[in-house]
Every structure is written in structure tokens, then in C-alpha cells.
Subunit: 290 residues, 2 copies
Amino acid sequence: MRILATVADAQRMFEKEREAGRRIGFVPTMGYLHEGHASLVRRARADNDIVGVSIFVNPLQFGANEDLSAYPRDLDRDLDICEREGADVVFAPGTEEMYGTDTGVRVSAGPMATKLCGRTRPEHFDGVVTVVAKLFNIAGACRMYFGQKDAQQLVVIRNLARALNFPVEVVGCPIVRESDGLAMSSRNVYLNDDQRRSALVLKRSLDAAAVAVAEGESDGRRIAEMMAAQISCEPLARLDYAACVDPETLDDLERLDVPALCAVAAWFGSARLIDNMTVTPARGIDRRDD
Amino acid sequence: MRILATVADAQRMFEKEREAGRRIGFVPTMGYLHEGHASLVRRARADNDIVGVSIFVNPLQFGANEDLSAYPRDLDRDLDICEREGADVVFAPGTEEMYGTDTGVRVSAGPMATKLCGRTRPEHFDGVVTVVAKLFNIAGACRMYFGQKDAQQLVVIRNLARALNFPVEVVGCPIVRESDGLAMSSRNVYLNDDQRRSALVLKRSLDAAAVAVAEGESDGRRIAEMMAAQISCEPLARLDYAACVDPETLDDLERLDVPALCAVAAWFGSARLIDNMTVTPARGIDRRDD
């Protein structure tokens, strides 16, 4: 497994592999890898000839009061995981290498970035699409793998690729959970034992929404309110949002007659965690109200 | 010569040529081609195996009160010129094809875009870099040719490529002028005879600046003021700006000890014209003032 620290080396290497006719799979990460990342690398390994993983904590996607300096890092462990999962190359640049010649060029994710997580993290998705645009250009034509756990990020990145015509196939992969249901996240390390138990309310609220929808509930606002109430009842949780939205536009859904994205976010101590689930309305929706 | 109207066709065609080991040269234009554009196509022809030209009047780079609807168009004549100059492919998409799936994703050119022309055209360069980012992705790894006439645009696009790591070599080409010195521009067609004669003041002001600098003038503000005064004295000219700036940062230069970019802009009737010249200080600059 090769470890590259410069944009020029990475770009040249992927270009050379592509010229040799090999298909590239790429997994962008901020490091501190867990089983969720590992599943992306395995999927990239299964689908492609060459697998690249980037490890870069992107300062642009952290707000002024967020956890950039505290964000967990463990490069040696990350490299072991990449090697174990069969990555061919790890691109691990420093901040200077990525933004040293920064003249303020930015990509803006558009109105989609102001919804859901964007309400409390107003600059977050512009930071994400700026670094992802760079990674698209560094990896070149490829398949790029992202976790469904960051559902809004996945939508925003699909839009980025489509809107600016990047020759990249964006692949979303299922959420990986701990055995008790907590969605895996590098930020789970911030939780103490009590917060860790409380955080299970996120998945419980989504499960409850799925059950309600399966049983015929089709009012999006009622589903969102139900999830919000459940999270708010959990003593150590501080609700950010609970929403039931169109999976492509992220607009609030009033009536569920297509699959909907239920998405929740809450703080547990200093850790802001998110989770989501796609729920499908029951076949025989009661339409007498229409 | 092939004419393509869809992004997918163009992207596939360039990709195939690149896979066959051929080098791509690409000339982005807004059509209504003149000898300046023709010189870019010839340069691309000389440097590369495959030459593409795009013809697309980009609505994003026009302000609300600008000349989008009046902008001159003549596709048949443009195609003749492309064919004559040896282009292999013309990419001429409609607005729907370029922006039909637009979800508001934009590229922002950063602070550089607020200087010079950016003062009167605040959204212009963001519109330029957004469409150029798309064209970078459609053409793929290539050399892309831009005229030095739009000096700020060239700087902004070089920054775009560098900041976001596009695998594109941005090539700047010399200004092409009419025999009397007027810089060629699709907008010259707006001028009546009197305005056409008046517009020569732009080049005259730049020539005067170059002479002054060659004779030892090294005060950037004095040079800018001299050009501004000369343009303002021309009855049919309405000055936008006259500036003497660092060619890379576009910051005003107080003291010329390196080559400087002299840039001017003025309206003649409804036509806003620009021109520029790189001036090099005399070798033996008088430094007694220092």
C-alpha cells in the first residue's frame, strides 16, 4: 500500500492507473476510521481495480465554534485498517498541501445546504463540496463512495457532481451500526457511558417512525413531531432537528406517498450526532382524507 | 468537424480521444467569433491532437441589467470559422442542457473577483468560473485557451484551476487587435462610427502608460491617473476604471519594480469595452526617491 502526501503525486498515480485501463474506486474520509469507513473500502475493493482512501480533516467544513481541534486523529491505526481492507493507496495530505495556494475560490452547495444540518452548520456543506471538488479532481474519473449516515452530505455531493459535470459516479453505502443500533461515527468517541446509552434514542425514534409509516401514518409533519418528542424526552439529549423529507430535494414532506427520508440530529454533551432512515409508506395508504 | 449539443456526448468523445492517447486542446467561447478567437483555435491546433471549441452564451455571467438578450449570435458563421481553423469538434449546448438540473451549486472566484471589472460586475466572475468548471469537467484533462484581452478572467481562471486541482493547463494568448489598435471583441459590433473612433482611446491610454514607464515613471497611482484622465477627456467615453496592478494578485501597485498590468474599462454608448497591456519598468529605474 502506497502512502502519498502531495496532490501532484496522487493525481499522477491515479492518472497512470486510468491510462492503464484500471477502474478507480475512491473513499474520502476525515480519518479515525471505524467499521462504517471499512465497509466503504470493502465496497470500493469489490467494484474496482484500484482503491484509494483519503485521510484529511478538512478545516473548511468546521464552523468557528465546532470541534476542528478536538476532532479525533490516529493515522497509524487508520493506515492499518486501510491495509487490512485492501486499499492500494492512501492519500494523506497536510492542510498546507490542500489549501496552501488558497485564493478564496470556493464551491457553494446552494439552497440544499441550508436545510436540516445546514440550519445549525451554515458553512458546513460549502466546506464539504469545496474539498470534495478537489478530491474529484485529484482522483479523476472514478467511483467515489460515501456513507448514507451523512444523508444530506450524500445528496449535496450528488448534486455537486451533476451540476458541475464531474465525471465521477457517486455511490452511497448503507449505514453501519453498533450491535445496539447506534450509527457508527468518529464522534461517538466523545460520549461518556450515560450519553452513549442516551444516544440510542436517535435510532429508536427512527424505528418508531418506520413502524408508524408501515402502519399507515402518512402525515410527514406528524412523523417529524413524533420523532422530535421522543428525542426531547431523553434527558441527556438536546434536539437539533427531526425531519421527514423528500430524499432528493430535502424538502419537508407533508404527505408520504413515496419513500421518505427521516433524519434526526441531537447533541449529547458536546457531541452532535446524526442518524437517518428511509421509510416506505404502506402499500394500502388510507386515502379517504384526500 | 463534429457538432455536439449534449454534455454526455462531448464528455464521452473527449474521454475516448484521451484514452487513445491524444492530447486535447479546448477553446471556450460565447460565439460570435472574431480573429481573436480564431487565433486561440490556431494555437490549440498547433499544440494538440484534438481541438474542441465550445459556443455557449453563459447566462450566469451576465448581470441583471447587462446585455444577455442583445449579445450577438451567429452560429453558422461561427461553425465556418471553426472549420476553417481546423477544429475537430464544436460543443454548442443549449441553456437547458447546461443548467437544466441546476440546484444552485455555484463556484465562487473569491476576493480576486471583486477587483477591477468585479466592481461594476459583482456576479460576473462567479458566473464565469462556474461555467468554466463545467467545461473543465466536460473536456477533461486538456489544455484550455483563453485570450489575454480578458486579463482578469485569465487570472481568475488560473486560480480556479489551481485552487480546485483541475487537471487542466490554462494557456493565455496575446490580444488580437484591429489594424487601428482596437482590441477585438464581440461587443465592438455595438459601436457606431463615432463611438468606434472614440474607443481607440483605450489603447492610446495604455500606449501612453507604456511610454511613461519606459521613460522611468514608476508610481503606479500616477500611471493609473494618467490613463484615467486621458480616457475621461474623450467625449464619447464614460470611464469605468483605469488601474495599474500586480499581474497575479490584481492588487494596485504603488511602485513598479516588476512588470505591471495596466487595465482599462469604459463605456461607449451601451458597449462596455476593456483593454490591457503588461508594462515593464525601465531597467535603470531612478531610485533616488527611495
